[in-house]
Symmetry: C2
Subunit: 413 residues, 2 copies
């Protein structure tokens, strides 16, 4: 018998019918002998309705009061799911975040979980009840209702799983797992049976639709096995994708787990900067001060005692960053600014890279074979990212997907 | 400086615009130097929406979980009102029933308030904040969310006023006070400036649309001055109707406060019952066992050692009560059953009756003058009720309204 935390997102609980399906799935897990704690989001559309209500009254709404309002979305769902479970003869108790003491800081609208008191949930589980908890919300030390910000329900599920030392945290959504890459770009993309927390973080651009990065970090930190599953699979047979710590004992670690990409990049270069200590700070300091996030950073040392400094930012920040660089250029007496906001980043991700050489060269060869020019390269232990012209995005992803044998093996009809 | 509890019902907070009007009114009271605690209901239509959601999942829904769901209605309103107040520069804090420790029993859907902890509200008021509390809800000793049942927001307001020893509890609604009778029947009906708790309870059939009986009982018990006002009066000049304890010092107590009526009555008589002890119990016991509520009861002793026993029930229970009486008749060897479900009750209400004789004879004379036959009479200290044919209802009410000088004095145009 295992203790499982299941989390169902907005579309999974979007109607009375869907809520009954969720109740059936919970009961199925119980019938298999498991203890189940369920975390639910607001019904799809409900949070938007509440935001619109608040903004019709005042924009921006006072943060503390906005949370009082937003927290009702998940409270509606816990009530309905517990009603469905009870109607099917399954004892259940619903709780708001405050009721199970999900203690957070007081950063309304984006609070962080500090502590969870698992006593109440444990005694319900011992009494044979399913525990239904509202995601996305908590309570601060003063007793005020807080919300955790976007994707907060995933974070609630992982935090509860960590507090209860659950055997698995299952995130039910409308896709059936994590794929090697976006199936809309590569129809042969394959569902991954297993990835590591680190890989999942690097696969962010694919995973964002499936899992919130914050919850993956949380799961990694507390070593909570996460599983992404579809709530629309009525056969209960799909096992989704399991996200866990790296398994040292696994003999064959897949070389590459997937290919991530990011369409929203822009690149800026300051050419002919005097090569002296503190240059990075002098250039990126003013950028950071303007609340612009920098992604890749590359510095080449030139032959003439000057250096070329290149970095990427979100495409929306391109114009503003160019403006800032004009000032920086004058201060540092740099030669020139160049920029390009029609670029994308394509990344190869896999823990197998650690122990295998030659990945980079295979990557560059595959791109060269398609005559795709690489504009920037950046590497980490488990990732190699290249920046290319945006027109090559699909071509690059497909070429790499094939080059690294990620394509699904066609099954005979 | 006074401490005022204001309560706003569903139509008063039915839209963003109405919520802003409520905020303006709260700020107006603050600007007059008062401390204000506001209790709000769910936005009009919201509770029905939630009930429909629950019933789409299961009918009847599990009581505890139904309350978790229903309580969100008022929570939405407190958030929105606090957002409106803050946007207008008025410091405010919203609280659910649980957050201000409105402790109730565990009778979900119809819980009773046991205790309120006023500490949090007091410290907010001292800090210059308006306190906004969700009506209709509380929390039981286990920490589960409870709701108080129909009209519960009025009860919350009165309970808070009692706990805080407020100077006045103002119930804002869509009518501007309590009238001498239903203005749809008597256009000359007059708004009462003042009535006593007891009178208000007897005027139930008029007041039901304005105030929940339970909150009037509560206010009377804790001697909380209640004022009924319209939230649609944008001039803030209407003073509504004040409901208080009887004022001994008042020199001129109005003889009659108003005329109440009840259209839903039915009358049953068991004729020729042996006149012996325990008859009332033998007849009404089986009726009570069937959960039928009995209103008026009259017993006449006949000359032949038998008695005629008459009582009234709600018209919906007429057929069922007749059935029960068949059995009773056989057991008691009574002579006959007679019944009439086309009757109404008209009541004259006024604390002035206590010290004035002749009220009954004026009443009977006025009805006789209109040839209205009286079928039953029942009196209490501050009320005289008569049962008449339903076709005479309007005529009887108008005749009494005039006979007791309740008509509004026409003002020159």
């Amino acid at each position: 018998m295992a203790l499982i935390v299941q989390k169902y997102g907005g579309t999974s609980v979007g109607s009375a019918e869907r809520i009954h399906k969720v109740a059936d799935r919970v009961i199925h897990a119980r019938n298999q002998g498991h203890d189940v704690v369920v975390v639910v989001s607001a019904m799809s559309g409900e949070t938007n309705r509440l935001v619109a209500l608040a903004k019709a009254v005042a924009d921006p709404p006072k943060a503390r009061e906005f949370d009082v309002l937003l927290a009702t979305g998940e409270q509606v769902t816990i009530g309905l799911l517990a009603i469905a479970l009870e109607a099917k003869g399954c004892p259940a108790r619903s709780y708001t975040g405050a009721q199970v003491h999900i203690l957070t800081d007081s950063a309304f609208n984006k609070a962080r979980i500090l502590e969870i008191d698992d006593q109440r949930m444990r005694s319900d589980l011992q009494a044979g009840r399913v525990v239904v908890v509202a995601g996305f919300q908590g309570v601060d030390a003063e007793g005020s209702i807080t919300t955790l910000g976007r994707g907060g329900s995933d974070t609630t599920a992982v935090a509860l799983a960590a507090a209860l030392k659950a055997d698995e945290c299952q995130i039910f959504t409308d896709v059936d797992g994590v794929y090697t890459t976006d199936p809309r770009i590569v129809p042969q993309a394959r569902r991954l049976d297993k990835v590591t927390f680190e890989e999942m973080l690097e696969l962010a651009s694919l995973g964002a639709k499936v899992l919130q990065i914050r919850s993956v970090e949380f799961a990694g930190k507390y070593n909570v096995p996460l599983r992404v599953l579809s709530s629309f699979d009525d056969t209960y047979t799909n096992t989704g994708t399991l996200i866990t710590a790296e398994d040292e004992s696994t003999m064959e670690q897949a070389l590459i787990s997937g290919i991530a990409f990011n369409r929203d990049e822009a690149k800026l270069t300051l050419l002919g900067v005097p090569d002296q200590p503190g240059i990075a700070r002098d250039i990126l300091g003013p950028v950071a001060d303007a609340n612009i996030e920098v992604d890749m950073i590359i510095q080449n040392i030139g032959a003439d005692g000057t250096t070329d400094f290149t970095f990427t930012v979100h495409r929306n920040d391109y114009a503003k960053t160019l403006e800032i660089l004009q000032t920086v250029k004058a201060q540092l007496k740099a030669r020139e600014i160049s920029g390009d906001n029609k670029i994308v980043k394509v990344s190869l991700v896999g823990v197998g890279m650690r122990s295998h050489a030659g990945i980079a060269s295979t990557m560059f060869r595959a791109l060269a074979a398609e005559s795709i020019n690489i504009k920037m390269i950046s590497t980490s232990e488990i990732k190699i990212s290249v920046v290319v012209d945006e027109k090559y995005l699909e071509l690059a992803v497909r070429a790499l997907h094939t080059a690294f044998d990620l394509d699904q093996v066609a099954t005979a009809a």
